[in-house]
Every structure is written in structure tokens, then in C-alpha cells.
Symmetry: D2
Subunit: 508 residues, 4 copies
């Protein structure tokens, strides 16, 4: 084990919270990210102020919208928290009922409609949900003080209205080896030292959603752990500007269009997603912010419960699906093709698939069950079913949207060409469709569809739909585990007139 | 208009109810069907006592199971009815909350697991649900007494614990013509005469589910009506043994196996579905049992609301899906193939599809809204999405079950050959699979899969899944109507930076 | 090893062929099946003359059609055979070119159009194709006389114009064990004795297509064999009426409709498929008809080559698909719905899927390669692709046909009810659709669709499409073997700019 | 009609050809594009020398590869041309047999494997194919000299080994109006003047593949024409550097990565596609290069035949599919996941889909028929089926490739970050997968998959697969036209026992 660097400030929880002040508006949120001195690299350069970087800013705007929505639609996007006896942003609310989960899903869909991208705040919400019950359960077994620490943290989090990011996915290295077996011990994040003030962790969290835009990162295990992996079983809250953190920005399809002049070719100029590699080099966490340390047997249920919450959160993609349906309907109209029966039929199919996803998510929420700690958790089978449909249907919705868009979506010249004095008139002349629709409207919708099916937000709408909250096979494994074959064999045997004899098979 | 036959007894509602006595058990239900003197034809012959006919009986058994379940699991299959201040069979319960609809769905899935077929009681339940609000709404507009008549009828129905069948689908004749335009006026059921005691109707109801097994048939319009179709806009309750009724039994794939000795080749010897053509030849209905007469403008909302309820009722197919999953898992085990990864993967896919259907149904129920009459109605979009998935996924589940079954499912000799002295030993010798599994168990499961994918209950699991509660295109039309393109276009335009100008298009 | 029964006549090849005389017409074919004294069981009874049994006859009719087509369309269904210097039925022709395989495919599609069922002659044709090259290859290695025996047999077969059935699938017992490891040694067919006149075999061949309708059965190994399975590695020609053979008839969905009066409810009254279990109890084969005996290492290539031929033969299902498209188009027309865009779109989809299957088959044939023996063999990858599409698309085509049919397909009363004096007029009145189309035409088409999607010929169109010539996973294994990942990785690495280093991985 | 600009040089055909010299190698091809003085705009700027522009060059490289392949594999990529009695590049060869079309398909697949993109030369090849028969047919009817002009042009084209681009797609404006009805007459390209030396055309050709990289552009009608559209019915050969031509470059997803340093993030640094808008402002064509002028009735068959050729040319996507399969297999191996059964199963599925496309294409070619002019044309139905599968399967292959790639594909930092001194070591440490595979290999394959599923070559692999050679609905219309419902209804009616009465329906 490496020695911790001697130069880290070993701040207390209070010192760390002391740097925050309550955030009320989206603008205050953006301001809160400034001047934090975080160490961020993008395109090989250290970024002085991420908030002002044109590639990074759209991802901040998406998170800002979660604050703005709380003001614009408090019924949907806030909830009364008994913890602080006040309304808090729903992204910080502790789930008290199935209805809370349903409202969460509605808010997620709404956010998808408003931003057309990944707004990066769900994994954090689902993390605070799972920690409620996990800390409770550990305390019951081990007499640890984690649940109270959790409540204390949440009280501050709600009062200050902060963003908590989920630092879950370790790089994993050689996938055939467990954490403690890796050639490089850092390929899973782990505790490197402990003292009476706290502990130190080293490692990295890969493709972390909205990592740079979060005030706090909750580090946690990415998979089940054994006794030999004890130092890898750690949960703690780390401020985003902690010493020892380095962010390396992940690039996305068409990311540099954000650096271009003009807003058309960006497709969705305001909003985008964000994934970063976050490197932890002996980062200090005070004990008050440690919520699990070595109780390795809770890593597995923690992951299982997180996926139960988080796989239903992929309902957000139905908000993006609504945008896709709308964009496809708009371009069909602009092309003068909206009355064709095959066009309407494709819009129906897109809607059918989108609503199928929605139904799996809200069904999972409505069917939530209460856990011992008092919190409610999504129905696990239906959450997996939801996410599994998300790994399929957005691709088909996207294909259908491209079908309605027509080939022009990928052959359209640049905005600069539309604005150039020689080519501009030619383009406006030759790309006129329905006479009453401005050519620019047509190009804007085409660029939006490009953005969501090939460009920057295709990352969120497609690839993240595939891999976020677990790749397709992860859902299949959970469905396999939960599908209760023996019970169902019993139905078949009963109807077939087979006398059922208890066998070893039944015990499998 | 034909003159009514003079010989019909013009019974009052009280006289008609007077022939009933409360049914407590499944056995009493079966007894209640005896000696009714109904006029039934099957294979060209008039059937003396349908209850004892081996082809008909399995369909009665399926309905019997709805009574048995109420005793075995009253939490699930009964509900407290304020109307009679007692627990009643849930198939007769007036929906008071979303939770009532969710419990209905669970009961439907359970019934599917128990019977592996169509248990024929959902359309009636959904009919009494829709009549609650429709009669209310008509009375509000026209000052009619329908809602009270409805409540009076329901009180008797609940007390006597009867089965109400839905007589909805008219033969329709030339589909390009409206009811009053048909060459033969009887191609839609209609009023032929009215007097101070009641009215007479003539026509037919096609492929009526469980018609012969019902105590009452509720006749109602099958589609929207115009002023010219006024006589076709009629709703009324007809006892199943009313004078003037003739039932002609629909045949099903493999129906005559029910006439064979032995229970193996039947696949599911106990349970089956039933569809009949019911011909109405000047059937009398007393005014107390008339719930709509000429208020044609309510035909359209009546159909729309009925499909909202009924398309979610197709959740029953997930119960059959559970049987399919169980049967496929059992045959894989009996074949010694259950450890193969591709086998497990196919079981996962079957489950995923089945649970996707389930989620759409219960989501639709959880999201139910209250109507003016006080009753709750399923979310319409999600109910359509549910049914639309039902038109697809059971076919794929069925294909996967056949995949796991192996070809033997369609080449297996008859039970008689297994019992014959020469061939029996050969068959038992050569069809032995895993040594610890009796050959008979293997054949029984194969016959069950045949029953549900090709045989008698394939009618319910496949074709009825396609066409019941409306064929696929009917759902697509409803999804088209409900998909709110203008709202979604707005999302896209906002993100694309298009200034939205109010246009005629927006008004479409 | 059991002792052979002493009572078998040990006939020479010449004696066996002596009982045949050349068949010229379909009628002569049917006559040739009479009075053979074969031992057949069906529904627990021994059948005196299978040719006259109403359940069996439609399967004979289907084979008869292969003779009739040779007369009606000799260009398509016959070919010049150098072996006998005369035109022979193409089902007996030795493939001399890719074009021969293409013409075979066209003939198969045509036969499917004409019969709407499995005409049972393809497996035999593909067997004689594979034996050409396999006997050649064995002789090259072992100096055996098999290829000449094969040519002698084929000369007689072509002259007498006989039907050869493929006896391939052993019952297999416990699938985790090899042939010689089975508890019962007979679970794979094997040699029980040899003398200077020939050898004896015992065992069974399961779900043998057209077994009872064949003049000869070619027994052969069902999978690869090891040295310890030497006695199981045997290929030989057995006359269908050989001593020691017992046929047990496999039942099919709706099989007993063939016993009913009237031809409507049968759907396809003339044609059906046939699968039997054929039990071999010490059946004698003279050496002249033994084409492999103990050269176990050729079992694997024999199976592989047979599937290359046979998986492309499933092109026959496109002929059935043509019938489905036609039936769906007809019922849409009879319902007056054929102008609806969604109806036309579904017919297009059915056609698209059907032609996709066709293209894989004929592509496989066009791309055939010549083997050492001089015969041509289908491209293996494309044959597997063809068959794999056949395991999917007919199910979707069938679903779409049911969609167009409407629910009446499964609720229609029996022909007897249409003919009964009371119900006949009612049914004709109420099932009238488009006024100019007879009700009977509508019912006939509905019964045909029922026949092919649920009834007797659904066995051939659906389940056999899934499992015949190998279940889906069998094709996936072959595709896995043939997909040349290293070559394709090379393309990717080259484009990605990766220097390719020879590694162990490359050798896998 | 606008007056032609007086300043155009009215060159003869000989003058135009005089500027060419025979091209032997890929390098000579690139050289031939230099210094042509073409007017090209990209990102609002006029490009001095397109050959040297880093965004344009990869598209030139792809065409260069068609020359290189002719040298590397002459059997595949050249053919003997009777016209010049020499071997010529197969992209210039006039089809003499089905085998020529099959070899064309193999060459197209090979080119796809080599370039991973659209190599832009197929539309031109298919255009010269269709002109052979169309010019012949017009001459037969009208006594015109087009076929001889065509042969003269082709002789020069083959001798000089030039690239011919297909200028087909007009902007079309309001799609509900015919060419002569458009508000702006230029929305379809048309003849503006004629004199004794030639004619002038004005208009534009949209998303023209490889337009800028072609030596000649063949302008032709994009759809059927009426007598009123006579001036729009024109076919002619225009040199790419003709006076009056302006090219406006279409932008693609991730196009500007070509401007970045480093080759990794480009994914496929060498190759890309190209689509431009080509504006024709009174461009002169000498009569020798006019191949149709006003014979409007031939526009429809010209389009139909072109799609027969061109829809089978989409077999090229199977070459890209091979790259996808290889890339997916490689990343699975680099991740250490290649032994998992679900991974292998997904590779099998990708291959199955890819080979299904291949089979439709080569089946269409093998089944080609000879036309009156002597040339062979692809089977139209199968060509449509091929292209229709291309509109679906690459999307699913792409989804599966992203599945195997894992989320890192869209969160990977830039090459610059890998090379930066602070972040480089971190990234190499944390993105190490299987210990024996360089991190750079992993990133390169991930960038290649990004390139083909989201980036620059996703344009060719996905969107162009959807819309090139006609959008999905265009194939469905052709399949509808060719599916011969009456013949297929006849099969069904025959089997169902329906007496077929000749009706008007039969004539439809």
C-alpha cells in the first residue's frame, strides 16, 4: 500500500460543508461551480475555468435545468422533506412512497423533453436512495454509525441544494480477475490509509456522468466484494474540489461543433451530457463522510438495489424519445410528407416503443416495496425490464427518425455555407421544401435529429441507453435470477397433469 | 322493420331475476348452467345439455375457476362492494380506485396461470365498468334513468354472483357501409319494436367470448353511431336463456381431441376457451334492463372507454406466458438441456417480453383517472400500448417455447399408441430422455406446449391476443389519436432553436 | 449385442430391386405403395392399408404431386441423368452444377405453392447428394467399394423412379451421453450383427419425414462419431417394407379433421405432411446396400455436408409463404379491406420476408462449389443463413396472415353447422362480407389460414421450419464456425491503424 | 427560360476528352484531380485545392482504393472489355453476364472491407449499366443516335479510366408538385437552351456521392416525367470541371476530427465518404454527350432499371459489416470478454444479418436477365429485398457492436490527453484491459466503432444505408408492384377448394 501524500488537508466534514452556501436558482448553481480550482484536462490542456468552456458548458446547462424546473414546476420537481421540514429539490429527496418514485419518473421524462440529453443527476439521486437502506442494514448487523452519518450528510445536502454525483464504475482492468488480484491494485478504487480523522482512497472512476458538474462525489463499490477485497469495499462522500482529484474529460461525437460559430450545426446548442474519468490520488475523507468501510458483504446488495432504482431512471430516455417523435413529425411536415400513411405509421411505432419504455418504468415505481429502513425501492424485475427495453427501442426510434428525416440530414452543408454570400443564396434556393416553411427551420430540425442519432446527444440517447446502469447482459442476468422458474414450471405441470415430485431440481 | 314474434314472454326484470339464486361456489356455478334450455348447435347438432358436452365443458371449467379462486384467495379475487355492503367477486366489482384496477390485473394474471386459457370473464367486467360512467353521462345530458337502472342491475348481479357476458361485435357485413346502409338491416343488432314493457332486438353478436357460459349478455354497440343509426344504438341486459336466442358454437384448432379417450393428447384437459355466434331473433328486454336506447352519440365514447379498460385486461396473457415459460423450462429440463446458455437466454427473453406486457397493463391501471360518475378508468395510451404488445410478444414467446420443445412436439404419436401393447413398449423405450424423468411427463409437457401454440388454447394465447379488444390497427389508430404531436414538435423546435409561429398546422 | 432374429429373409440387392417396376405417373406411385404389408400403427391400431387411411392419404398426395409435376413441367422437375442417359425426376438427380441446385430450389418453391405443405422428398434428395461425395472420399482413404455401390443403387433408383427417405434422427436418449454410453444401446441405431451376406441393424429413427411413403429408407448417423461408436457409424439402404420395421405415426394438430365429413374445415383437404417413428428390429441390409460401415470419422463431414444441402432446401417454405401471402390477400379482399394502406403494407412485409428466405437459398445454390467426387455442394454459410431465417420469418408471416384474417378464423362454426337446416341460413346470413363474394369462399380461405398457422400444415410451415434440418442453435454453431473472425479482425485492425502482431489469439 | 450565359466555352466532346490522359494507378488518379480549378465551398470558404484538404482527402483515398485494387487483385477488380479489347477497371465494365454482376458484388464487398466507408463509385457504374439498355431502347423507338454516342463515350471512359459520378437527385422542392409545377423552375434540373453545338442545363443535384471526386457527372432524371416535363427529361455527361458548376460540401458527423492532429480519434483516418450539392448554372453539354433529350417516357424505366442495379450494389455494406464484426470481435478480445457465450452469440447474430444482406444481393445478380440491348440486369424483386434489408440490419449490427464495445466508446478522452504528460500516464494506467494488449490498440478499435456507428462513416454505414438508392418506402412500393398477388391468391384458392371465377379483381 502506498503511503498517503503528507500534504493533503485533512478537513472535517464541517470544514468541507463550510465552503457551501444554499443554492436557490439555476444561476446560483452555475456560479457555485466557478473558481473551485478543480484540475480538469480536455484535449490535452488543463482548463482554467470549466464553466466557461464551450464544450463543457452545455452539460452544465443541463444540470442547471434541474434547478430551473424546481422553480418553474415545484409540484413536479420538489418535494417536502421531513429531514429539513422544507421543500427540497426532488433530486435530493428521500423516497417516502411509490408515488415519490412515480413523480421522480415524471420529472425525469420532463427533463428529457426539456434538455434532449442526459441531465446527469439521476445516478446521484439513486445513490442517496440506496444508501438510506444500506447504511441502515449495516448498522443493524454491525452496530456501525453509518445511517446517522448518512442522515447528517443528507440534511446538509438538502439545505445547500447540492449536486451529488455517483462515482461507481472502476476501470476494472483484467475482467477475469477480482479487485485484489489485479496486477495494479489501483484498477479498483481502494483505501490506502486510515487515521483517526478519516481515510485515504486511491484509484479512478471511469465514465462518470456529470462528475465535473457535481459538488460531491459518492464513491462506492462497482460490484460484489469478498473478504480479500475488504479495502475495496468503501463508500464515502468526496467534495468535487478535493485535493488529489483529476478530471479527464471524455470526448463525444461532434463535440468540437460546440467550438464553432453559429448555433445551427450544433443541433442542440444549449444542452449536452458529460462523462469524465476521475482519478483519485490519495484523496482524504473524514470519518463523518465514510458510510461503509470494509463491510464487503454489503457491496452486492448495494449494487443490486442501486440497479433497481437506476434502471427505472432510464425512463428519462422517453423524454428524449418525445423529442425524437416531435422532431420526426416536424421534419415530415416541413418536407410536406406528413399526410402519407407510412409516415404516420412510423410516428405511431416510435410512440408505441417510447410508451412501452415509460410503462415499464412507472410500473416498477408504482410496484415499489418498502425496505426495513423505511425507504421504498422499485420493483426489481420491472426495473430490469425497463432498462432492457431501453437498450433496444431508442435505436429503433432513432432509425425511424432518420427514415423520416431523409438523407439530407447527413449531406447538409454547414451553417457557414448558408451564411456565405455566394453559397447562401444557392442553398436557400435549392433547399426550399414546403414553400411556407423557412429553409432554416428545416435545417435546424435536421441538425437536431443528427445531434440525437449521430452527434453529441446520440451518446446519451443511444450508447448510454445501452450501457448506462449496466449493459444488456447485466439485465438478462438479473431477469434470470428473478424469473422464478420453479413456480412457473409448477403451473405448467399442474395443467399438463404431471404429478410433481419434489426433486433436487426444485432446489436449484 | 319486422314485426316482433307475438309469442315472446314479456318478463319483467323481477321475473327474470327471480329465476336466479345466489352462487357461492364453483360447483354451484356449474349447476346454475344446467337445465336452462338454451338452444345450442355444435357440429350441426343441437346440444341437449351443454354443461356435459366434452368440448364445451373445459370452457365452463375455466369460468368455474373464477369462483373457486374467490374462495381460495379472497384478498385477490373478491372486493368489498359498497353497493351491497359485502365482499363480492372481483369480476363483479365496481372499480373504486387505481388499486382496484391493479388488483384486477393481478387476478387476471393469476387466472391465466391457473387455467392456461381464456377464462372469458373480463369483457363482462369491463362492460359493467364502462356502463357506470356512460349511463351517468347520458343521464346528465338527457335526464334519463339509466344510471339507477344500472345500479339496480348491479346490485342483483352482485348478490346473485352471476356472470355477465359482453355482446359487442356485430357481424358488420360490408365494412364500407354504416349499420343503416347494410343490405340486410340485421347485420348490426338493432331495436325492432318498443312497447310499454320493453323493447325487442334482432341481429347477432359474433365470436362472443363465453357467451353460452354467461347468465346475462349485455348487448351494446360495436362502434360509433350516427343519427341515422339510432335504432342500432342500444344497450340492454339479456338473460342467457332468453327466448329467441340461438348459440352456434365456434370450432377451435384440435377441438375434437376433447372427445378422445385419455387426457394426455388434450394438452390441457381441464380448461379451454369458448367463442360463439349468438343470434338474436326478436329478443325482448324489459325497460328496467335497457341502459341506452337511441342516444347514439354515446356509442363512440362507450367503445373508447371499453377499450381503455379491456386492452389492459389482456394482461391475462402474461399468466399464460408464465405457463409457457414454465413449460419451456420443464421440457428443457426433461431433455437434459437446461444448463445450456442459449436455453437460459431464451427463457430470459420469454420472461422479458412477458413482463413487458405486464408492466404496460399495470402501469395503465396505476395511472387510472377518475371519471365524473366516480369510477376510475385506465390510462388509455398505456392500455393501447399494452394490447399492442400483446399482438406481438405472445407469438415470439410461443416461437421460443417451440424452439425449446424440439420437433418431437409435432411428431409424437397418440396416447393410444403409448397404451397399445405392441407400440407402447417401443415408444417408452425410444422416447426416454433424461433417465430420471418419466416419458409420460415429457409427453405431457410437449402436448401442453402444442395445446398453447398450435392447439385449442393457441386460439386464446395467439389469435385472440391479436384480435381480441381490437386488432393491431385499432390500437395504432388510438395511439395516433393520443400521441400529441404538436406538444412534442414543440419540444423539438424549442431545442432546435426554431421560433414557433402559430400556424394552421398547429391546429390540425 | 442381441443375436439377430433367425427368421429374417437375407435378400440380395437384386432380389429387393426385383420387387420394383418403373413408376411413370403419380397414380402409379400411389399404386406402388399398396399391398406392401408394412406394419403401421396410428391411434393405437394397426392400419391395414395406409394408402386408404384418410389421415395418411394427404401426405401421400403431397408426394404424388412430385410425380405429377415431373409430367406437367419437365423442364423444372426433371433433369437428364448421365447415369442412365435419360431424363429422371429431379428429386433423384445427381447435382452436376450450381444451376442444378438453383433449379432444385425453384422446384421446391413450386411444390410448396402446389401443396401448401411438406412434400417429404427433399431430405432423401439431399441424402443422395451427400452420399456421392462421402462414398467417394471414404473410398479414397480406405479403398472401400462404396462409391460404386452408390452409383449402382442410384441407377436402379432412377430407373425405377422411387422415393428415398432419409432416416437420420436417432432418439438420442440422454443428450449428455455419446451413443455407446447410453443406458440402452438402441437409443442410437447400430449394427447388431454382420455375416457374408450383409449386416443387421437395430434402433429407431425419430420424426422421419415421409417415412411410410418412401420406397427406401437411407439410414445414416445423426451426428459425429468416435472410435468407440464404430458400430453406430453405418449407412445403408433399407426397403420400406423390410422385415423388422415398425412405423408409429406421429399425430399432428387437427389431424382428425381428416376423418370428418366435408372438405372445408380441413383447410387444405388434399395435402398434408407426415412424420413417423420408425423402429428397426434387427433389420437386414445386404452388403451391396451398405455405404458406410465403421468409418466413423466420416460421420461428421457427412452431417456437415448434408446440412449444407438440406438447409438450403428449406426454400420450400417460400412456396408455402406464397400461399400465405395469397391467402392473406384473398381474405383481405373478401373482407373488403384490401385497399387499406396498412393491409397492403403487411402484404409487402410478408413478401419481403419470404423473398429474403428465397434469396438466401438460391444464393447458396448459385455459390455452390464442386467437391472431389465431382458433385456440387451448396455454400455452407449461406445455407445456414437461409435456414436460420426460416426459423424466424414464417412465424412472422403467419402472424401477419392471422392479422389480415381477423378473429373469425378461430371462431367460425363447423362445416356441419353451415349445412344444418336451422343454423345454415343463420350462418350464411350473418357471415356475409362483401356482397359479391360467397360466404363459402370466405370460410374456405379462413380454414386454409387456420390450417397453415394452427392446424395440420402449421406443423410443416412453423414447427418444422424451426427444427427441421437442425434447430436454430445448430445453425448458430455452424455460423460461428464459419465466420472467420481473424480475417475480419484484420480488416478492423488495418483501418484502425493497429499494427497486427501474430499472437496465440490469431491461432484460435 | 433564362438566357444562357454568353461566356461558356462550347467545347466539343473531343476537346473535353482531350484534357484527359489514361490513368493507370491510384496515385495518378489523385494527381488527375489536381489543378482542375473546380469551384468548391466548405465551411463558408472556397477551397483552393480540394485534393489537399484534410476533410476531403479521405473521400478521395476511398476512390483511389478502387484503382489500387485493380492492380492488387485484377481478377476481382478488372474485366476484359470487348469495347476496347483490353482489361478495364470493373467499375467501368459493361455487364455481359450474371457472373459479371456477381463479381461486381464481390468487389463491392471487398472495397467495403478495405475502406470501411462509401467508396462512391457504384452509382456511376450502375448509371452506365442502365444507359446501355435505355439508349438502345430509345433508339429503337425514336431512331435517335444515343446508343452509339453512349458507346463512344464509354470507349473513351474505359481508355482513360475515369470516374463517372451519378447526378440524379434533384432538390424536388414541394414534393406534392411535378417538376414543371414548381414555383422555382430550377428545383429540378432542366434544359435552358439548345443550339447546334449542344444544350445548356440549370438546376442542382443534391447529396451527390463523390461528386467532387469524379471526372464526369452524368445528369439524369430523378423520377418519372410527363410530356409537360419534357425539358426536365435530359441525360448528359458533364466534366467535373465544367464552367458553371459549383460544389457545396456536405458536412458529416465528426467531420472536423480530420482537422485535428493525431490519427486515433478519427477512427478511420484514411477513408471517408463524400456528398455534395452540385449547382449547375447554365452548364453546356455538346450533343455528342447528350444521351436523352425530351424522350420523357423513358425516365420511368430508367429510374426503375437503375434501382434494380443500384439496390443490389448496397451489398457494399456487407464489407462494412465485416469490419464491424471484426471490430466487435477485436474489442471483445481486448476486453478479455471473448469467451463469454453471449458475446459469441452476438457476433453470430451480426454475421447472420450481414450474410443475409449478402445473399439477397448476389441472388439478385445471379438471377439477372438479359435486356434487349444485350446487357444483363439484376432481378428487381431481390434487389429491392436486398436494399430493404440494408435499411434495417446495419442498424442492428451497429447496436450489437456498441454493445460489445462497452460504454468507453463514448467516454474515452482525446488522443491529445493520452499524449499529454500529466494525463497520459493516468490514462494508460487506468485504461489497461487485458495485460497483453496495448491500451492504444483498445482505443483505436473503440474509435473505429465510434467512427462507424456515430461518426463520419456512420453516415455511410447507417443513414446512407437507409436512404441511398431510395428510402425504405421506395422499396416497399417496388415490392408491392412486383409481388403478383393474383398469382398467389390463385395458389391459396386452389388449395382451399375455391372455384376461381374470373373477376375484375383479377385484372387489377
Amino acid at each position: 500500500m502506498n503511503a498517503p501524500l503528507p500534504t493533503r488537508r485533512e478537513e472535517t466534514a464541517a470544514q468541507r460543508w463550510g465552503r457551501f452556501s444554499p443554492i436557490s436558482t439555476g444561476e446560483e448553481y452555475v456560479a457555485s461551480l466557478r473558481n473551485r480550482g478543480v484540475c480538469v484536462y480536455l484535449f490535452g490542456e488543463k482548463i482554467a475555468e470549466p464553466v466557461d468552456h464551450p464544450i463543457i458548458r452545455p452539460s452544465i446547462n443541463a444540470l442547471q435545468a434541474t434547478y430551473d424546473l424546481a422553480i418553474a414546476d415545484p409540484e413536479l420537481a420538489t418535494a417536502h422533506s421531513p429531514l429539513v421540514n422544507a421543500r427540497v429539490n426532488r433530486f435530493l429527496h428521500i423516497v417516502e412512497s411509490p408515488q415519490d418514485l412515480v413523480l421522480k419518473n415524471r420529472m425525469q421524462r420532463r427533463m428529457g423533453q426539456l434538455t434532449g440529453t442526459c441531465f446527469q443527476r439521476c445516478a446521484g439521486l439513486d445513490t442517496i436512495s440506496v444508501l438510506h437502506s444500506i447504511t441502515w442494514d449495516i448498522d443493524q448487523k454491525h452496530g456501525t454509525p453509518y445511517h446517522q452519518r448518512y442522515l447528517d450528510f443528507m440534511r446538509e445536502a438538502q439545505c445547500n441544494n447540492v449536486i451529488i454525483g455517483a462515482g461507481m464504475t472502476d476501470p476494472k482492468g483484467d475482467r477475469s480477475k477480482r479487485p485484489h488480484e489485479q496486477a495494479d491494485p489501483d484498477l479498483f478504487l481502494h483505501v490506502t490509509a486510515r487515521n483517526d480523522r478519516g481515510l485515504y482512497v486511491t484509484g479512478a472512476k471511469a465514465h462518470m456522468t456529470g462528475g465535473l458538474n457535481s459538488h460531491w462525489i459518492c464513491i462506492m463499490p462497482t460490484m460484489n466484494m469478498t473478504a480479500a477485497d475488504r479495502d475495496y469495499a468503501v463508500v464515502g462522500m468526496v467534495p468535487g474540489d478535493a485535493e488529489g482529484l483529476t478530471y479527464i474529460y471524455g470526448r463525444q461525437s461532434c463535440d468540437t461543433r460546440a467550438l464553432e460559430a453559429g448555433d445551427i450545426d450544433k443541433g442542440n446548442a444549449r444542452y449536452g451530457g458529460q462523462e469524465t474519468l476521475v482519478v483519485f490520488d490519495n484523496v482524504f475523507i473524514p470519518w463523518e463522510h465514510v458510510l461503509l468501510d470494509g463491510e464487503y458483504e454489503f457491496a452486492q446488495p448495494m449494487v443490486a438495489r442501486l440497479t433497481a432504482y437506476h434502471r427505472a431512471s432510464y425512463v428519462c430516455k422517453t423524454g428524449l424519445g418525445d423529442v425524437m417523435v416531435g422532431a420526426a413529425a416536424a421534419i415530415a411536415e416541413y418536407n410536406g410528407a406528413d399526410a402519407a400513411s407510412h409516415i404516420k405509421d412510423k410516428l405511431v411505432e416510435m410512440t408505441h416503443l417510447n410508451e412501452t419504455i415509460y410503462s415499464s418504468a412507472i410500473a416498477s415505481s408504482h410496484e415499489a416495496q418498502q425496505l426495513a429502513s423505511g425507504i421504498y425501492m422499485n420493483d426489481e424485475m420491472l426495473a430490469n425490464v425497463c432498462k432492457h427495453n431501453v437498450t433496444r427501442f431508442p435505436y429503433e426510434i432513432s432509425r425511424l427518425a432518420q427514415d423520416l428525416a431523409g438523407g439530407l440530414m447527413v449531406t447538409l452543408p454547414s451553417q457557414a455555407d448558408f451564411e456565405q454570400e455566394e453559397t447562401g443564396p444557392m442553398l436557400r434556393k435549392y433547399f426550399q421544401g414546403r414553400p411556407d416553411i423557412p429553409v432554416e427551420s428545416r435545417t435546424r430540425i435536421l441538425r437536431l435529429i443528427e445531434n440525437m442519432t449521430l452527434g453529441r446527444n446520440a451518446v446519451g440517447y443511444l450508447t448510454e441507453s445501452l450501457h448506462g446502469a449496466g449493459s444488456p447482459q447485466a439485465q438478462r442476468i438479473q431477469i434470470l435470477r428473478g424469473m422464478e422458474l420453479e413456480r412457473k414450471k409448477g403451473y405448467a405441470q399442474e395443467l399438463a397433469g404431471i404429478e410433481i415430485i419434489a426433486t433436487d431440481a426444485a432446489a436449484r
